[in-house]
Amino acid sequence: MLLITSNHNKMKRLFLALLLTGTVATAAMAQSAQYTEAMTKQTADLDSSSTFNPDALQQKGNTFERIADAEKSQWLPYYYAAYTQVMQALMMKDKSQVDPVADRAEGNLDKAEALNPKSSEIACVRSLIATARLTVDPMTRGQKYGAAAAELLQQAKTLNPENPRVYMLQGQSLLYTPEQFGGSKSQAKTTLELALEKFAAFKPESSIAPHWGEPYTRMMLQASQK
């Protein structure tokens, strides 16, 4: 009986121990599962057209900021917050609001960069921020931010020549810059085709790592062939 009792107690303790460790482990796993789940959900529709309006982008930017601030040690949510915010800035009609939003995006991107230095993806978003600032006043800002945007893309390319978003953004710049300032539809086409090749070969590090841009590249390629 004693033995049984003791066995029973052992069993009980074991069970409790199991239960406890299990709970702890599951909590940790749950945390990361929660992260992966939330990030998967938020990044899944980044390329969808329903995301591309200022309100939806702002909402997404806010969500990424909440995830980023809760996690603190993950660079991706800061990166995506910056990305959605700069896209929001680029779509704004009231140009006087571009700089404050770009500042916010830049702040998030700085945090991402501190956690993940020398990232080609981060350099791409930084280039987008320069482009957004340029749109506020192209006449006076063109020289400064145009050069900065191009230089950041070059940096992004040096960091990872296989990153399709580098070519996509270079193509975009070639497509929308007036020919007098170095734009060219034919060069845009070549660059965007190269971007598509890179997209086809590109394997994101994980399901939530940056993978946006392919549908938009196809759209731009069509525009460049007109």
Binding site: L18, A30, A38, E65, R66, I67, A70, Q154, T190
Partner: protein
């Protein structure tokens, strides 16, 4: 999976699912109860939260319990955190306050027009100066389209609010520029010497300016040079009047840059085709060169050097008014050099240091003669050298307030020889100033300062108090007032002959209102300026002159109403009288017009990347001296009104890899007759109109800029 482990699994997870989800909802507004959409509501430490909708409301659920911290953030607003009890289920009413950032705080604005890329809410951008039609890319000509400045196009300088050109001082990075204009010939004003592309900020103060600057009775033109260039580049320019070339080299670490520029201007070929009223007898020919060096000494430190050298040769023949049938010859050679070195650094504890040193020298050799009439030619040689140093400390007090303390020392040598007779003097000028911008609230600022000066040649001291206040009514509108005393030494040509002269003095009173929105700017200013101790030359040199200037000015700029177009309108009403030099009593001086107006219109045609500009300027007639009038009618005659319509077109393109601009500009397109005054012969029997030497100037030029940044080429080659 065995049934037991499935059971375990369920057992472990069930509590999570069975926990009650609390609902949190509320509404966010600004201080004026307007709903705020887009606010990020977050429960700290969790992913839970929401973005407020168009009516400012939000709702979300969370599994958190008990006391939690809720944060609300929105761009341009101060972030807010509040403790809430999740289970309480109350409706939250959150009010966000405007973020007090530099964009929204009030700034001292009375009397000053600022052109800057960096600061928001400025009236002009540096590019606006370059693209103003009729201004010929001259800073001062562009500023003449702003209220307060006169259209005195027969003499050089900025004539502001009833003041002479001498009463406006030009400063580069805080250092005085003794000869900001090319030496002029009689009735032909010299252009500004400095290219507008050198500066990132230009402030035109038509009165009430800061105690940091002195020796300008009316106005200050404050130029701030650019720091490091964006990239290395080289440039060439060709125009109907000359050529220029330059390089700008930025080091790889982007901490050091240097630039060299040279230009050559020769108007003789142009004048062979389009004959001026008075034909040139030498030149006009200008050789200019400039160098700059900029080095970032630390994260916050900056050392800048700018040097400029210039050789001018010009002269004209004109029909003699004094001796009919004879020809007057006037020849001028000018050598000018200006150097400016500044250093600024953050000293820590919110203290900043600014140091400046400058040396400049200017020599004019003038030969005036009546040809074939055996008179002794007049030979004038004037040389002025100026060495100066300036030191300033400033300390940030709180977020926006600042205290500035500084001093200046200038050593001037003024030499002149008139047919071999010398009249030289030197002056040691010292000044100290203290000034503080005090923000009582982010929308109410006061600037209080004073300046004390001593000039050895005058042997006198002065103290000039200055006060400005500005109050921001809302995000767009603000009221400002300014008061200040301004002292200035008499012009060298008077001090040369009488050392007992004292400072001239002006006291400014200004009230202004401005409304600056993203797409338009409205400004109006009322001013009263009292002049005392102006120099008189009769009966002998004395300081018994005086006068006043008062008026109202309006400025309207609109960037939105017409698509791709931007225009501004300025109007100045000026009522001024003064008794100075040889005036018998107070009259409206010959450089002042009662009404002055300008319309500047710029239109961008994106399809052909061309900027079109039109500038129309108007001024009512100016008084002129007619010796045939009795003394009590002194200066009672008026010239005809002044009308000028200038056109410019600039086409932006790229040739090979060079960013290229073609510029065509035509001044006085309509060929309006412009008479600035009259010269009379000594006996008063004959007179000559003072008119522009070239009634209409047509300028055609091409400027190319090559980026020599390899990376840039790589991208273009993709």
């Amino acid at each position: 999976m065995s049934s037991i482990s499935r059971y375990l699994y369920l057992f472990i997870f069930t509590p999570l699912f069975s926990l009650a989800q609390s609902k949190i909802s509320g509404k966010v507004t600004d201080a004026k109860k307007h709903p705020l959409p887009g606010v990020n509501i977050a429960l700290k430490g969790s992913y839970d939260g929401a973005t407020t909708t168009a009516d400012g409301s939000f709702t979300f659920t969370t599994s958190a319990t008990g006391d939690q911290v809720l944060s609300a953030t929105l761009t341009n607003y101060q972030p807010l955190e509040l403790k809430i009890n999740v289970s309480a289920g109350e409706q939250l009413n959150i009010v966000l306050k405007n973020a007090v950032n530099a964009l929204r705080v009030v700034t001292i604005s009375a009397g000053s027009f600022e052109a800057s890329d960096e600061k928001k809410g400025t009236v002009l951008k540096p590019l606006d100066i370059v693209t103003t039609a009729g201004a010929g890319a001259d800073i001062v000509n562009a500023i003449k389209t702003l209220p307060g400045a006169q259209q005195t196009n027969d003499r050089e300088g900025l004539f502001v609010r009833g003041g002479t050109g001498y009463e406006t001082q030009t400063l580069i990075d805080g250092m005085l520029v003794r000869n900001p204009f090319y030496s002029s010939l009689p009735d032909i004003p010299g252009r500004g010497r400095f290219s507008p592309f050198l500066f990132k900020g230009t402030t035109f103060s038509s009165g009430g300016y800061s105690a940091q600057y002195g020796q300008g009775l009316s106005s200050a033109l404050i130029l701030e040079s650019i720091d490091l260039p964006e990239r290395s580049s080289s440039s060439v320019g060709v125009s109907v009047i000359g050529v220029n070339a330059g390089i700008d080299n930025l080091s790889k670490d982007k901490k050091t840059s240097y630039g060299i520029e040279a230009d050559y201007t020769n108007l003789a070929p142009y004048f062979n085709v389009i004959k001026p009223k008075n034909s040139p007898n030498q030149g006009p020919e200008i050789i200019g060169t400039s160098v700059n060096f900029r080095h970032k000494t630390s994260r916050t430190g900056m050392l800048k050097f700018y040097g400029y050298g210039n050789w001018t040769k010009m002269g004209f023949n004109s029909n003699s008014l004094e001796y009919p049938g004879y020809t007057e010859s006037f020849k001028l050679r000018n050598n000018n050099a200006y150097t400016n070195m500044t250093y600024r650094e953050n000293l820590g504890h919110d203290w900043h240091l600014y140091l400046g040193a400058s040396f400049s020298t200017n020599t004019d050799n003038i030969n005036a003669d009546t040809l074939l009439k055996n008179l002794t030619p007049t030979l004038i040689k004037v040389r002025s050298d100026l060495s100066q140093t300036r030191v300033m400390f400033y300390k940030n007090l709180g977020r926006f307030s600042v205290l500035r303390l500084g001093g200046e020392y200038q050593y001037a040598e003024e030499r002149s020889a008139f047919n071999g007779n010398n009249a030289n003097y030197s002056d040691n000028y010292t000044a100290a100033f203290a000034e503080s911008d005090i923000y009582f609230t982010p929308s109410f600022v006061g600037r209080v300062g004073g300046r004390a000066e001593y000039s050895s040649v005058l042997g006198k001291m002065n103290f000039a108090p200055r006060v400005s206040l500005a109050y921001k009514v809302n995000n767009y509108s603000q009221f400002s007032v300014a008061y200040g005393d301004y002292y200035q030494k008499p012009e060298p040509q008077y001090i040369r002959f009488d050392r007992n002269l004292g400072y001239m003095k002006a006291t400014h009173y200004i009230v202004s209102y401005q409304r600056v929105a993203a797409d338009y700017t409205f400004r109006t200013e009322l001013f009263y300026k009292k002049y005392t101790d102006l120099v008189k030359t009769v009966p002998s040199y004395n300081n018994n002159g005086g006068g006043y200037a008062q008026g109202v000015e309006l400025f309207w700029r609109d960037r939105k109403t017409i698509k791709n177009a931007d225009y501004w309108i300025s109007y100045s009403y000026l009522d001024t009288k003064r008794d100075y030099l040889n005036y018998p009593f107070r009259v409206q001086p010959d450089f002042a017009a009662n009404h002055t107006a300008s319309i500047v219109y710029k239109h961008y045609l994106p399809k052909i990347t061309t900027n079109l500009g039109v500038t129309y300027s108007f001024a009512s007639g100016r008084p002129y001296y007619n010796p045939n009038q009795p003394v009590d009618k002194f200066m009672s005659d008026r010239t005809m009104t002044y009308n000028a319509l200038g056109l410019s077109a600039s086409y932006l393109t790229s040739i090979r890899k060079a960013f290229t601009i073609f510029v065509l500009s035509v001044s006085n397109v309509l060929g309006n007759k412009q008479v600035f005054g009259y010269h009379y012969s000594t006996d008063g029997l004959r007179r000559d109109e003072v008119v522009p030497n070239v009634p209409r100037f047509i300028y055609l030029g091409m400027f190319m800029n090559f980026g020599i940044d390899r990376r840039q080429d790589v991208i273009n080659n993709l």
